[in-house]
């Protein structure tokens, strides 16, 4: 037992699944709020940088590394009966690259962001803020790279934008914007997928965060 304040990290992990934006939740195994769905997180032990604790948590839950991870904010409203701060992060991962922990008593699960039950603590509001940040950043950064595999069609990319923004976009305008703002480039290959014209595949010019 320590006399000092707690420092915890909490991670909002987003992925696109079934064409919808989903967030990864775990069951709380301890009190308070035991048994409720909650964001994954854990105590910071002080033996590594805070960002690495968050990145480690992300990898533990999803098996995926090297994706998009950004700090959101820090709050001292922990509701755990002792002083402490929680540092919230949000991450964007490619669902296809994720391997969830299985076999656990309480495996993590994906939940649609647009239809969330009340979660432990103020986790609903943390997710809302993560979503707001992600929406804003779509407009002026390339962060969507976190949600997509190396190669994708422009339609895949548009679906990703639509899932996050929660509204439909015009196909022609979307394509023009993406091709002119320089965040993606064409591979010269096509993907054949059904009884129709095959789509050109693209990749992100950079898989590091870039501002437009």
């Amino acid at each position: 037992m320590s006399a000092g304040p707690l420092v915890a990290t909490v991670v909002v992990i987003f992925a696109i699944i079934d064409e919808a934006l989903q967030v990864l939740l775990v069951h709380r195994t301890g009190d308070p709020e035991r048994g409720k769905w909650a964001l994954p997180g854990g105590l910071w032990r002080g033996d590594e940088p805070l960002d690495r604790t968050a990145a480690r948590k992300l990898t533990e839950e999803t098996g995926a590394a090297d994706l998009y991870l950004e700090q959101l904010f820090t709050t001292s409203d922990l509701d755990v009966g002792q002083p402490g701060v929680a540092v919230a992060y949000f991450a964007l991962v490619d669902a296809a690259a994720v391997r969830l922990r299985i076999g656990d008593q309480w495996p993590p699960e994906w939940h649609r962001v647009d239809d969330l039950e009340p979660l432990a603590f103020d986790n609903n509001s943390v997710i809302a803020q993560a979503l707001e940040r992600a929406r804003a950043k779509l407009d002026y950064t390339n962060i969507a790279y976190g949600l997509l595999p190396d190669e994708f069609t422009i339609r895949d990319l548009q679906g990703t934008y639509e899932a996050i923004l929660g509204r439909d976009l015009d196909r022609r305008n979307f394509r023009k914007r993406m091709l002119s703002n320089g965040i993606i480039e064409s591979t010269e290959t096509r993907r054949h997928e059904g009884a129709h014209r095959p789509a050109l595949l693209y990749r992100f010019v950079s898989r590091e965060p870039v501002f437009l």
Copy 2:
């Protein structure tokens, strides 16, 4: 002595003085980096919300309350030899309303942001990030209200924008934008100030943060 991690707050306090953006610095009174200029801050004791600790620090240093205060980010790079996190904030205050602590051995001082010596820890980078955030928010919020008194001329407002952005703006376009975006409104009074046409005074429609 506590065995747990430290939690500290650090505040970047900006004001416009001599038509330049300046930041409030204090002398470090303890090791490490004793005697160097540094951002004001202090330990969080866990008996109040984190934001209130930052707000209190702001008031202690400037005598001013109810201005603009926003959380920036949290880092664990403290360089103090024991584990801990620092939560950085930035604040915008009206220099005319500030009464600095005096009589202290090491009174706080305003320093021009565009000409800073190397400060303690990574404080230069914290200030740079605060400035970047403030610049971005000028474009789509009314946060400039924090830097100005209740009544001001459009020219005062433009000077504030220019000091933060670090570049000159076109007077006619600036005026048009400010009058059309709805963040300020005319008082019907004028300020007479020298051998020239008196300027109309304006006020902010809201002195709470508003997004455009």
